[in-house]
Amino acid sequence: MSRERQLRSELLLLRYRAGEESALQEFVALWERPLFYYIRRLADCEEDAWDMLQEVWLRVIRNIGTLRNPAALTAWLYTIARHTASNHLRDTVRTRELHDAEADLSSTKDATEPSLPPFAAEELHQGLGQLSLLHREVLTLHFLEGFSLAEIAVIVDAPVGTVKSRLYNAKKALRKILETEVNHE
């Protein structure tokens, strides 16, 4: 996660607290693209994703005073985004989560440090769309903000071990998809 962006965000929130109203609008502008990208990976259609993003901001504005640790701001934003998306997609997410949780457990034993060969951003972007929901989610968080396993665990509300194996499986699945595509070409 970029330290510069983190500091800029903290500064904007501080200015908002001090009464500078435009700081909140700048803050929203700074975060709306990455949050939209993440929500879009969870949502079924684009229109829903925009609606969810708007709801995320309403929740952020409502709860901004409860943020105790400004250093955890990025993870806090993504946690809110995930809760909002989960509420919207309650039924479908639950069934998919169950399915994917089983897949995660099946290969936890060989969950060593995963790695991906260098693929182009376009390929990764395409590949993400073909992954299962939970794999897509952890990889998006990993690629987008470089979150640690512990941070992802907080966001997706799962134990670190589960996240580790989920990330491993996600990378494996993504590699398989991308390599298949390369072979086809």
Binding site: S2, L14, A18, E47, I64, G65, A121, L144
Partner: protein
């Protein structure tokens, strides 16, 4: 490719439908600002006219009693002056809202001490206006009281009231402001250092690369 580059490229690859995005931005604008409806516009015009009316009325009466009723109590004259000031403040506020054409919602939605853990400058100012008005009122009442002991009691009450309300909020406000200012300075400094580090990094990379090529 660095993490930051990958992030930027992924974000750039996300294609959005302009109509949906425009709709979102319109809705977000409504979150930050609520445009004046014809009714609220009329209400603001009425409030502004009433404010101007009160200002003219009270200031005229306050000045007139000075000439027509020399014996009129000072407290009464001060009350008229305060009324004129409040009228003027209302007129200015309504005028500003009308000029802007919208009411900003986000800050006031959050501007509670519980949520922001800070003293808003408006709250601070209002508390002090209230304290000064109470203090002046107590001074006037105390000095005009027939019994000196009672008068002193009233003045003392005013001072206690000011100490109880004005001083704590001043200390709280100053402490919050100082804390925010200090944190802002630290963050700005850290941000500048991070930006400098990012600037220096590519330069160092280039130097290392040229040295390797030379070798």
């Amino acid at each position: 490719m660095s993490d930051s580059e990958l992030r930027d490229k992924l974000l750039a690859l996300e294609k959005v439908t302009p109509e949906f995005e425009a709709k979102y931005h319109d809705q977000m604008k409504a979150v930050f600002e609520r445009p004046l409806t014809p009714t609220t516009r009329i209400a603001n015009v009425v409030a502004m006219l009433m404010g101007i009316g009160f200002f003219i009325l009270f200031s005229t009466v306050a000045v007139a009693v000075m000439w027509l009723e020399p014996g009129f109590p000072l407290v009464g004259r001060l009350m008229f002056a305060a009324g004129a000031l409040f009228g003027l403040a209302f007129a200015v506020l309504s005028g500003l809202i009308l000029k802007r054409g919208s009411i900003s919602l986000t800050f006031w939605r959050n501007a509670t001490l519980r949520q922001l853990r800070t003293v808003h400058p408006a709250a601070f100012g209002l508390t002090w206006v209230f304290c000064v008005l109470v203090m002046v009122f107590c001074q006037m009442m105390g000095s005009q009281a027939p019994d000196a002991a009672k008068g002193n009691q009233i003045i003392l009450g005013g001072i206690v009231g000011m100490v109880l309300f004005g001083i704590p909020i001043t200390i709280l406000s100053c402490a919050t402001e100082a804390e925010l200012l200090l944190r802002e300075k630290f963050l700005q400094l850290e941000l500048q250092l991070t930006e400098l580090k990012d600037l220096v990094k590519p330069e160092q990379g280039k130097e290392a690369h040229s040295k390797t090529e030379d070798a």
